[in-house]
């Protein structure tokens, strides 16, 4: 990826950061989940959502590391926000800019860093979504694309958070305090809605990565294990069908996958492929005696059995699956 150094007005950048009112706030599940997904997808022990303040970088989410902030003087992300696009350091010990950094030369001995700048709606770089490893390495093209997709989701959460804050102020000015509380309470579920839009290459390695990412979020949201397994298996089957039938195992083709997990306890998964589609009603029932021992034809049946509601749209090119969390 080409990188260009961007000259920024630091005063304007810090003013934009202040408008998000996120520094030193409590951890939030949506950010924790997205950082966790970045760590899973990029296969690194550490992922961070950082906000770069005047003289420090503060972590909104930090799976894999205990500290919550560091000095900006030793910050990799300070460099990342000066770039447009993904900033990658394959081996910091070999990089003249970072080899004497205390996090590289001693302490945790970081080696690999990849950071995607998080942009404010005004265009200012606020911080990064970054992944860190203690061994030198690179990201695959798929991982780069996924990290960039997650970066967009973090930006979306930041905007949602800022919008909510601004909405709170507007409501407080307009309504009586009691009415405000009721209205805000009705809005709160939307704060924890998690929506992931992904475009993934049609290759088998995508299957467990996406399925494990979705299930990691469900487990963190306290879904029962039986429900998690049902969703995981359904995602695997839907993506496998899209790769095998929709893309004919051509890894240059892509599958769209959208996962929405809302606070009301429902997950909606949409998998779309570029193929010619199929007639879901014409798929033979694998439980009929003549089909029971066939080597194929169970994927659609498993999805239909495991999920609450399944729709095949656009001539079978798109499957929409829904499942509601089972009450404890």
């Amino acid at each position: 990826m080409n990188m260009t150094t961007v000259t920024r007005d630091e005063t304007a950048r810090l003013a934009a950061l202040r408008r998000y009112r996120i520094l030193d706030t409590e951890p939030e599940r949506a950010f924790d989940d997205l950082a966790l997904l970045a760590s899973h997808i990029c296969e690194t022990p550490i992922a961070l959502i950082t906000l770069v303040d005047a003289d420090r970088q503060w972590f909104k989410a930090h799976p894999g590391i205990a500290v919550t902030q560091t000095s900006r003087a030793v910050s990799f992300c300070s460099h990342a926000i000066e770039q447009s696009g993904l900033f990658i350091i394959p081996d910091a010990s070999e990089d003249v800019r970072f080899r004497d950094n205390p996090f590289v030369a001693s302490g945790p001995r970081f080696r690999f860093y990849a950071g995607a700048p998080l942009l404010a709606r005004e265009g200012e770089a606020l911080g990064t979504l970054c992944v860190i490893d203690r061994v030198p390495r690179m990201l695959s093209e798929t991982q780069r694309e996924a990290l960039d997709a997650l970066r967009r989701q973090v930006e979306g959460q930041l905007e949602l958070r800022r919008n909510l804050h601004e909405l709170k102020i507007a409501l407080a000015a307009r309504d009586q305090a009691e009415a405000d509380v009721a209205t805000l309470s009705s809005l709160m579920p939307y704060c924890s809605t998690c929506q992931l839009d992904m475009t993934i290459p049609a290759e088998p390695s995508s299957i467990p990565r996406i399925a494990e990412g979705v299930t990691a979020v469900l487990r963190r949201k306290g879904w029962p294990e039986d429900d998690v397994i049902a969703v995981e298996l359904s995602v695997q089957e839907a993506i496998a069908n899209a790769i095998r039938h929709g893309c004919r195992n051509d890894p240059t083709q892509h599958i769209q996958c959208c996962v929405i997990i809302d606070a009301s306890g429902e997950v909606v998964i949409v998998v779309r492929d570029p193929g010619t589609g199929f007639d879901a009603t014409a798929v033979p029932n694998p439980l009929q005696s003549e089909n029971l021992f066939k080597s194929s034809g169970r994927g659609v049946f498993l999805i239909n059995t495991l999920m609450d509601r399944v729709e095949y749209l656009d001539g079978g090119r798109e499957v929409q699956m829904r499942k509601r969390k089972t009450d404890a």
């Binding site: 397994i229 298996l233 695997q236 029971l292 021992f293 080597s295 194929s296 034809g297």
Partner: protein, 119 residues
């Protein structure tokens, strides 16, 4: 993704230790190929040790189902050892758990092949 399926013989029973990823997506074809080779060699009593299998999907179920019936037709048998609760659940949805014998003890599984169940 090639994974080694290790195997050992106990009497006329061949025990295949199935690696985790071999029951998932098209890697399951590797198991199908190996079973076909064993059939050519006359090894018709197969016990699949699924201790390592974390993911069993419809591809893996397809291999188990199709090879079970083809071995039975030849006078052999295919049984499962140590399937996880998750694998049992998937086999149950496919209505195969009632048909294909599953064991948690290897000795009991081996003995079952000798008890005339494959006649």
């Amino acid at each position: 993704m090639a994974s080694t399926i290790t195997e050992r013989s106990i009497g006329d029973v061949t025990v295949l230790d199935v690696p985790a990823q071999v029951m998932f997506y098209e890697a399951a074809a590797q198991l199908r190929t190996r079973i076909n080779e064993l059939v050519v060699e006359g090894r018709l009593k197969l016990l699949l040790d699924m201790r390592q299998v974390t993911y069993l999907d419809s591809f893996g179920v397809g291999v188990i189902a199709s090879k079970y019936v083809s071995l039975r037709k030849k006078g052999g048998d295919l049984k499962l050892l140590h399937p996880s609760a998750r694998s049992r659940h998937v086999l149950s949805i496919a209505r195969l758990i009632q048909i294909i014998e599953c064991f948690d003890e290897e000795d009991a599984a081996i003995r079952s092949f000798q008890s005339g169940a494959t006649a």
